[in-house]
Subunit: 136 residues, 4 copies
């Protein structure tokens, strides 16, 4: 089990949120993985021959990394659970992961790192959508 | 002029967003100030005698610091400007700054650091609302 | 394999650093896990009955989360590899992970979340030390 | 006075660190400004015609932004003050601000945003050195 799952399982009194521990842990892990992949993808993009074509990908990865990292931290502290605030953040993650995943996928045939990053973005988008679904 | 204003003024081709440089620079500065004040306020809260009463304030400050810091970074890179994504993030900032400012204000009569932090939160809320107004 | 390992394996031209892909991926994963566990532990600590005793643990977790998250990002972009800068950062991680792990371990008999967090901190300390060893 | 200065001045019992409030506030402000300028500079660099030449500048700005932002947060919570840990972090900031400032300065004659960013990096380097001097 990931550290996120173990930490959530050990919260005094259990989590009082609109989701169970497994769903929440999966979202936190997917956000952290996506933030890491996006940070790594900016750096790999900057080493590519077709640099000018990679600029939109670099910019999307930078935004995606920042917003997913911040959302992972907020979700890691579930004792305060403001549903409206969480939904805005999760919808922002869904939007940027979708855009970033689509852009990375365009480069996936040429660049293996963009293929991996697209997978991380789409998995993150799906888990955030899943959490939004159980919240509404 | 702040570094944010100077940097925005030096962007090649100018910014292509739904706001002018001064408005955008003011929002970036207010988000950075709010993130800093909230990080500092958690630490000051943890030194107070009435620690148990400060717990909601600490939690709000942690969330507010993370989301405002991430939004400041995204806004500092305005070449990619996805209006829907930006509005979700700005609305998340408005929500958490409002909640955090209200909670800090409750403690303001006793704790000077909460008074300063409330001012930073409310200023940030106002500037984010201002940017949302010119975007819609 | 983690996304970090997959991303590093797909870097154009391979990584040109003082470590192999497996070692570097393990450090990035351990830093990300430690940052997540520490963010979660601050929140769990704030829910405990013996709140006043948890204050040093909360403060260490906050510092540890911030420095490990930043170092994970820097290591995720290995194309620029300034050995002296990396060693300073890794030594800062070793120092804060050690202090944070020791403090969390003190509370481990009472609080399961501190036991999990201590494990994440010590694993992170060990992997950072391992990378420092191959760098010097 | 900046929010950092106001917050430090309102800490219960005063700060117990190896520096006075003014010095510490100046460092926190310089770190926050440098992190902002570096985030903005990556984006402006990506819009330049001579993109391939800007790659080292983009990479340095990304590292500099992450480490300065994390250090600003740690310094904003001065109640825990581990001198050795703080010195490692400050030395990491000095190293990356120096490298980033030097690289930005090379592009300053052509790009106004690099001129502004170089100034933010050098000011940050100087304030971090100043704090290191009073700590040793």
């Amino acid at each position: 089990m990931s550290y996120a799952g173990q930490m959530l399982g050990a919260i005094p009194g259990g989590i009082k949120v609109d989701a169970n521990v497994d769903v929440l842990a999966e979202v936190i892990d997917a956000l952290g993985d996506c933030a890491q992949a996006c940070a790594a993808d900016t750096d790999a993009d900057l080493s590519e021959q077709n640099l000018a074509e990679m600029v939109p990908c670099i910019r999307l990865c930078e935004d995606c990394a920042d917003v997913c990292a911040a959302t992972a931290r907020v979700l890691s502290r579930p004792a305060r659970w403001d549903a409206r605030f969480m939904m805005l953040l999760l919808e922002a993650c869904v939007a940027v992961c979708r855009s970033c995943g689509d852009e990375c996928e365009r480069h996936a045939p040429m660049h293996g790192h963009c293929r991996v990053c697209a997978a991380a973005c789409f998995r993150c988008e799906q888990t955030c959508r899943g959490l939004l679904d159980v919240m509404t």
